[in-house]
């Protein structure tokens, strides 16, 4: 029986460590195992180093740290199943909460917002990241992991934009456009080119890419025409404008009060700004051709309200000044118009809504012209 010296024990331990065995437990187990083999099989005057290397070579196929990798694999295998279960649970939870929350929202029942926020967090911060972690474990190529990572990010952003939209939080549109650009110009091309090269994934990749492209297209169209254009609103505005024109022609030439004139001027300025945005032409047209080309869009553009907010504020203050100067029946009613809503809810109003509100302010002034003249 060979007698191993302390120095040789250190030599073996160092060699095991150098070859990538980092778990202490495993180091000690292997050390003892190797020592046992050497003690049992090496002759008293045998060559220690040569025998050691020959022995340890039988422990692995390519490298010694395979043993550690295998150990870690076995230790996390149980975890893997728990994670998978948790992933499915969180997915189910968010789907159910999302549907219930949406239904509550439509019915205007309390608790809808809480449920939608919960569903969002469960879906985008538990379910999607877990899908990413579990799926990347099955992937060998770094490229695939990147594609899945970016796809997960796009999914999270998509959820965030929907949540921001439903909750009327600012920034929903910017998040939404980032999502669209990321999905359409980064994730989809990467996914497509990676998948279409491999014969076994080609058909699946093409089908999935077409589906994603279709989905993105539909979503993009929905964003572009949101809120849904109703020609009726546009024609109502046109008739209001004609009515105002008619009333103005019948009116006396007597000058109105300065306050009323200011309101009128502020109305015209905001109106022209909105019309320029909607038709590309700042002149006031009420003919069918121009109206047919008018785009109905949210007051809130992609990058906020632009100069509309300043013009609206000018109108608001002029109306306020007018209303404080006149008696109750002659006051311009502003309830439920864009003159009344807080800025953060104005995104729910369209440009046509705004135009109608403004022209009605002018109509009100025109009808009450005698009062406005009398104020002088």
């Amino acid at each position: 029986m060979y007698c191993i010296t302390d120095k040789q024990v250190d030599y073996i331990l160092n060699d095991i460590r150098r070859n990538g065995i980092e778990m202490e437990d495993l180091q000690l187990n292997l050390l003892d195992h190797i020592c046992c083999i050497i003690e049992q099989q090496l002759e008293d005057d045998g060559d220690f180093e040569r025998f050691y290397h020959a022995t340890v070579r039988q422990f692995y196929k390519h490298e010694l740290h395979e043993i550690e990798e295998e150990t870690i694999n076995l230790l996390t295998f149980k975890n893997f199943y728990q994670m998978k279960k948790f992933m499915l649970m969180s997915g189910l939870f968010s789907a159910v909460t999302f549907i219930t929350g949406s239904f509550f929202k439509i019915m205007h029942w309390p608790g809808a917002s809480v449920m939608l926020v919960l569903a969002f967090f469960a879906f985008s911060l538990l379910f999607l990241p877990m899908v990413f972690v579990l799926k990347t474990r099955e992937m060998n190529q770094l490229r695939d992991k990147w594609i899945l990572g970016l796809g997960t990010l796009a999914g999270i952003l998509y959820c965030a934009s929907m949540l921001f939209n439903v909750m009327h939080w600012p920034g929903a549109r910017i998040i939404w456009f980032i999502t669209l650009i990321l999905s359409a110009f980064v994730v989809l091309p990467l996914y497509f080119t990676a998948g279409v090269r491999r014969a076994e994934t080609r058909v699946n990749t093409i089908v999935t890419s077409v589906l994603i492209l279709g989905f993105l297209g539909v979503q993009f169209t929905l964003t572009a025409i949101r809120p849904i254009a109703t020609r009726g609103d546009i024609y109502t505005y046109a008739r209001n404008e004609l009515l105002l024109d008619n009333l103005s022609k019948q009116a006396s030439n007597a000058a109105v009060s300065e306050l009323a004139a200011k309101v009128n001027a502020a109305c015209n300025e905001l109106k022209l700004s909105l019309l320029k945005e909607a038709t590309g032409d700042s002149a006031l047209h009420t003919d069918d051709h121009t109206l047919a080309h008018m785009r109905q869009q949210s007051m809130q553009g992609l990058f906020g309200y632009g100069n509309k907010l300043a013009l609206l504020n000018a109108l608001k203050s002029s109306v306020k000044n007018y209303n404080t100067a006149v008696a109750a029946p002659a006051r311009i009613p502003v309830a439920n118009t864009i003159l009344d809503v807080p800025v953060n809810q104005m995104g729910a109003y369209s440009n046509v809504d705004a135009l109608n509100n403004i022209v009605q302010v002018q109509l009100f002034l025109a009808v009450n012209r005698p009062a406005a003249v009398a104020m002088r």
Binding site: D6, V9, L26, D32, Q58, L74
Partner: protein, 113 residues
């Protein structure tokens, strides 16, 4: 004849649990030697398979360990925990059942003893 590693892989946990059931406490090298001896060299457990399995069984709470110092090195003895004892019996009877099924499935004629 030495069996293929695929065959050993599926039964390794059962073999380790059974060894420990019969021998109270053992260390890694001892397990490989015992298996080799009992099977007349036909099953030789590899270190690359044995130690990961031992660590996994320990992590599952089926094994308890105690350590012993031998000069500068540490020897880790494994023995069955109470739940490991139950598991050992369960795995052995499962494998016996499996072997019966395989005999039927593969139409193996058992040689009379």
């Amino acid at each position: 004849m030495i069996y293929s590693s695929e065959l050993i892989k599926g039964t390794l946990k059962t073999i380790v649990l059974k060894m420990l059931e019969d021998n109270r406490k053992m260390y890694g090298y001892e397990i490989t030697q015992k298996v080799k001896e009992l099977t007349k060299d036909r099953i030789q457990l590899t270190e690359g398979a044995l130690y990961p399995t031992l660590h996994a069984l320990e992590n599952d709470g089926l094994l308890t360990t105690e350590t012993e110092y031998i000069g500068k090195r540490v020897r880790k003895y494994y023995s069955l925990s109470p739940s490991g004892k139950g598991k050992a019996r369960e795995r052995v009877s499962e494998l016996a059942d499996f072997m019966e099924t395989m005999k039927l499935l593969l139409d193996i004629q058992v040689k009379p003893a």
